[in-house]
């Protein structure tokens, strides 16, 4: 029935994202806040298409190989899970764009940059959830780190934001390296880079890969002890926090664990390490959320805790737990984004996020209060909201465990859930209940662009419960792609008086009571971010150490640099001494070589004796021209041509450069001259030894005929050298011209800096 190729849509959407990004980055300045609307369009389209793919059994795939020799390919595959995740990513993304229109003031600067980066992040995230090859996933994974860095540091004049952005980047980029190493080991063990083909792997390298990939997921998804970057990332504008640091990016690690878990199920380390990360994080995050007074930090720590729950559920590895994990992921994305939006709105309209200073907002901000109440109750797992059945599924999965696992895992998950209810209650009471006066604080006017997305998300939380059958179908279809046995599980509106239901009601009751009690206790200020400070100290320390080492190594003395180089070359030449085969050496092929070599030697000796700089340059040129004569004798016209031209340009360049220097060399002491003679002789001998040694190696017949053949057939040219340069080994040439370009840019940079320094001194010196 379909008249279009759905795989084209994947490309279309990705290219649309990317091109709108470019347009916004270059022309967004003029659009101001309207650029956010533009950024929302590709996200909304992606969300709409993802919605049509929800729950479908057939996947849409697209991809192309870009280096077949290395088995490198871009592969995308949109199955039920990918569609569900991209609906969350793009749908919440579009809502966040709308929300940001209200969040920023009409005169806010750099809106083009903001919306372009936000869209770039969204692109990276969509690519990540659609990726079907570990390499594709890795590329988009790193892109999310970079865009997150840019968004956290959006207010780049604020040192706090800059430090936070750097911290986030260093931790997540370190995780990226770990991921790369893990993927290399994994692909080696599994024999495939395609995620849908994963089969269980075992063995030492699989264990190592499991650890590396789990650590990577832990850095991205803020698992203890890597969680320290996430609270700091709250320095970002609230739309960014709502989008990246609650709903989407921090889920990347969870998604990675989910899709790759089937491969590592049988390894020894996967489950214990995953459970340790998850459970410790869940409890520590919840405790953190109870200690803070900044509402945004409370939510950030709450997110850390929830991510811990997700990782723990996935690490359990039973189909039931995996099903619960994906359900919780969906519910969490919706209510946490809404809660962040609420906090952002409170911040904008009252000027503070401190729950000590806020109170009684339920009257002055009724709609916001309703959204907060619905989303908070969903987070606490109270019916009739989407958070309730998903939390039930999680508790049921942990109660289904046996033996020690039941007591440890089940106990911690239940304990963590009590704390979750407690910090939610404390937050809501702190902000909306109480009715202490708020001195000097007026509640600003309603901003509909902020309220509307909140209401949409709150409605989704309610409707998700109403249409739970549909939600179950969608989630189940998604989970089946990673855990086929999960097809028997469902989410229930009313599960009956099961153990899990009783347990969860006890959890809610305990949480409500303790939360209410804790809300009364006044905490002056939150705990110091000790972990984050340690990370910053480490980063600064590495920077200082680097400067120290660089100051020693890069001393700036040219003779010493040269001496170091010569020394290294000499050491490298030593192994060749034993390889020299005196029988294979002979004096010359024909007389012309002898004459040319004599010319070279004569010119080289002359170069050391000449006292004028210009003379030395010209004699050096003579050496070069004589060498090109040698190439003539060997019959290598391409080399001759290039050598002649290079020599010409170099000699003329010398002449130009010498114009700045004195015409004669400065007088040298005897010791100085002796040192230079030793260095020169050592360098010459080292190269001679290396050449003589390698000449003795058997190389077989040169593949001249073959090369000439392929040059004609594939390169379409008779000059073998040039065909090699531009066709058969064109990648090398591309590398070489890249080096040339980098050198040129380096020279220009030095020149510019010198020019600037010159100008500044001119300004300082009074005339």
């Amino acid at each position: 029935m379909e008249t279009y190729d759905p795989s084209l849509l994947i490309w279309f959407l990705l290219v649309l994202h990317a091109s709108v990004c470019v347009v916004l980055a270059s022309g967004g300045r003029r659009l101001g806040r309207r650029s956010l609307w533009v950024a929302a369009v590709p996200m909304a389209l992606t969300a709409a298409w993802s919605a049509t793919r929800l729950g479908s059994n057939d996947a849409v795939a697209a991809g192309f190989e870009w280096v077949p020799g290395l088995d490198l390919a871009f592969e995308f595959r949109v199955d039920a899970l990918a569609a569900l995740l991209s609906l969350l990513v793009s749908g919440i993304g579009a809502l966040v764009c709308v929300y940001a229109v209200g969040y920023f003031s009409p005169t806010a600067a750099s809106m083009g940059r903001f919306s372009a980066t936000l869209l770039a992040f969204s692109t990276a995230m969509v690519g990540l959830v659609w990726a079907d090859s570990v390499w594709t996933l890795f590329i988009f994974w790193e892109l999310t780190s970079v865009t997150s860095f840019l968004l956290v540091g959006f207010k780049h004049t604020d040192p706090v934001a800059r430090t936070a952005a750097r911290r986030a980047l260093v931790i997540t980029a370190a995780g990226g390296l770990s991921l790369l190493a893990g993927f290399v080991l994994f692909v080696d063990a599994a024999g495939t880079a395609t995620l849908t083909d994963v089969a269980p792997v075992t063995g030492a390298s699989a264990n190592a890969a499991a650890i590396l990939i789990l650590v990577a997921a832990a850095t991205k998804s803020a698992q203890f002890p890597f969680h320290v970057w996430l609270p700091g990332a709250m320095a970002a504008p609230t739309p960014v926090s709502a989008y990246l640091h609650s709903a989407t990016m921090v889920k990347a690690g969870v998604i990675l664990v989910a899709v790759i878990a089937p491969a590592f199920q049988d390894t020894d380390v996967w489950k214990p390490l995953g459970l340790s990360f998850g459970l410790v994080t869940m409890v520590w995050g919840a405790i953190g959320a109870l200690r803070h007074v900044d509402a945004k930090l409370v939510l950030a720590w709450g997110t850390v805790s929830q991510l811990g729950l997700l990782i723990a559920l996935l690490a359990i590895g039973t189909p039931k737990a995996t099903f619960a994990a994906i359900s919780v992921l969906v519910a969490h994305a919706i209510f946490k984004a809404a809660l962040f939006m609420v906090v952002g709105e409170v911040d904008v309209r009252t000027g503070t996020r401190n729950i000590n200073q806020l109170s009684g907002l339920r009257r002055s901000m009724p709609i916001t209060f309703a959204v907060a109440l619905i989303s908070g109750a969903s987070m606490a797992g109270i019916p009739p909201l989407l958070g309730f059945p998903t939390k039930e599924a999680a508790i049921e999965a942990s109660l289904a465990l046996t033996g020690a696992e039941f007591w440890i895992v089940g106990g911690l998950i239940i304990g963590g859930s009590v704390l979750t209810v407690a910090y939610t209650t404390r937050l809501l009471i702190g902000m909306f209940a109480k009715s202490a006066p708020m001195p000097g604080r007026d509640v600003g006017a309603l901003r509909s662009a902020m309220t509307a997305p909140e209401v949409v998300l709150a409605a989704a939380t309610v409707l998700g419960f109403v249409a739970l059958g549909w939600v179950t179908g969608v989630v189940r279809a998604a989970v089946v792609t990673i855990a086929p046995k999960a097809e028997v599980y469902s989410l229930f509106r009313w599960p009956g008086l099961t153990d899990a239901f009783v347990t969860s009601m006890v959890i809610v009751a305990l949480g409500l009571v303790s939360g209410t009690l804790l809300a009364r206790r006044v905490v002056e200020h939150g705990p110091a971010a000790r972990g984050a400070r340690n990370v910053d100290w480490t980063i600064d320390g590495v920077g200082r150490l680097a400067r120290l080492v660089a100051a020693r190594v890069q001393h700036g003395s040219l003779p010493l640099y040269l001496a170091t180089t010569v020394l290294v070359v000499c050491i490298a030449a030593v192994p060749f001494v034993v390889e020299i085969d005196t029988d294979s050496l002979y004096w010359w092929d024909n007389g012309a070589e002898a004459v040319l070599v004599l010319m070279i030697v004569a010119a080289a000796v002359a170069a050391t004796r000449v006292s004028s700089r210009l003379g030395a340059a010209l004699v050096l040129g003579a050496v070069g021209f004589s060498v090109s004569g040698l190439f003539v004798a060997y019959g290598a016209p391409d080399l001759v041509l290039t050598q002649l031209l290079v020599e010409t340009v170099v000699v003329v360049g010398f002449v130009v450069g010498l114009g700045k220097l004195a015409t004669r060399f400065p007088p040298a002491t005897r010791l100085w001259s002796a040192g230079r003679v030793i260095l020169s002789v050592a360098m010459g001998s080292a190269v001679a030894v290396a050449l003589a040694g390698s000449a003795a190696r058997p190389v077989g017949d040169a593949p001249v005929a073959e090369l000439a053949e392929t040059a004609q057939t594939e390169g379409g040219g008779k000059n073998v050298v040039n065909v090699i340069l531009t066709d058969t080994r064109a990648l090398d040439t591309l590398g070489e011209i890249t080096v040339l370009a980098v050198v040129a840019v380096g020279i220009l940079t030095l020149r510019t800096r010198r020019g600037r320094r010159g100008r500044s001194t001119e300004e300082v010196v009074p005339s």
Binding site: D638, T642, V655, V656, G659, K718, T726, A730
Partner: protein
């Protein structure tokens, strides 16, 4: 040593320029079947630039443009085959029947070589710029050129 005022230098450079340009073009096109190619042609052009600079006939500016254009050409030629499902840097050979010249066979490699030429020229320009070649010429060409405006003592 070298000066804009020397009629011999400037006349010689002026005379040599067009010849060298033709030779550079020849070297570029010949490269496929005979000695030559992008590096050689680029160096040839670079040599002209150096000569013209030290003769005071031009400023060594625009290095960035040459580098950017060269990089763009080489990059596009490198990536373009991938849009047709071919591997990176795969080259296309075409032959035309051109009046006077007969059948001319060429390919995307020639375009790639053009990129190489531009980058080599850019590098030479950057070197000249880095060596401050133009100020050298200015200083020697006359006393008035080195005095900035409005700094009369």
């Amino acid at each position: 040593m070298i000066s804009r005022t020397s009629p011999i230098t400037s006349l010689a450079v002026r005379a040599v320029t067009p010849i060298a340009l033709v030779v550079a073009a020849y070297v570029l096109f010949a490269g496929h079947n005979q000695p030559g190619g992008g590096f050689a042609a680029g160096l040839m052009l670079g040599a002209i630039v150096v000569l013209r600079t030290i003769a005071g006939m031009q400023q060594p500016s625009g290095a960035t443009t040459w580098l950017a254009v060269g990089g763009a050409i080489a990059g596009v030629v490198a990536i373009a085959p991938m849009f047709w499902g071919e591997p990176l840097l795969d080259q296309v050979v075409v032959s035309w029947d051109v009046p006077l010249l007969g059948t001319v066979k060429t390919g995307s490699a020639l375009l790639f070589d053009l990129g190489v030429v531009a980058i080599v020229v850019g590098l030479v320009l950057a070197l000249l710029d880095g060596l401050d070649a133009s100020s050298l010429v200015d200083r020697r060409s006359g006393p008035s050129a080195s005095t900035p405006d409005g700094v009369d003592s």
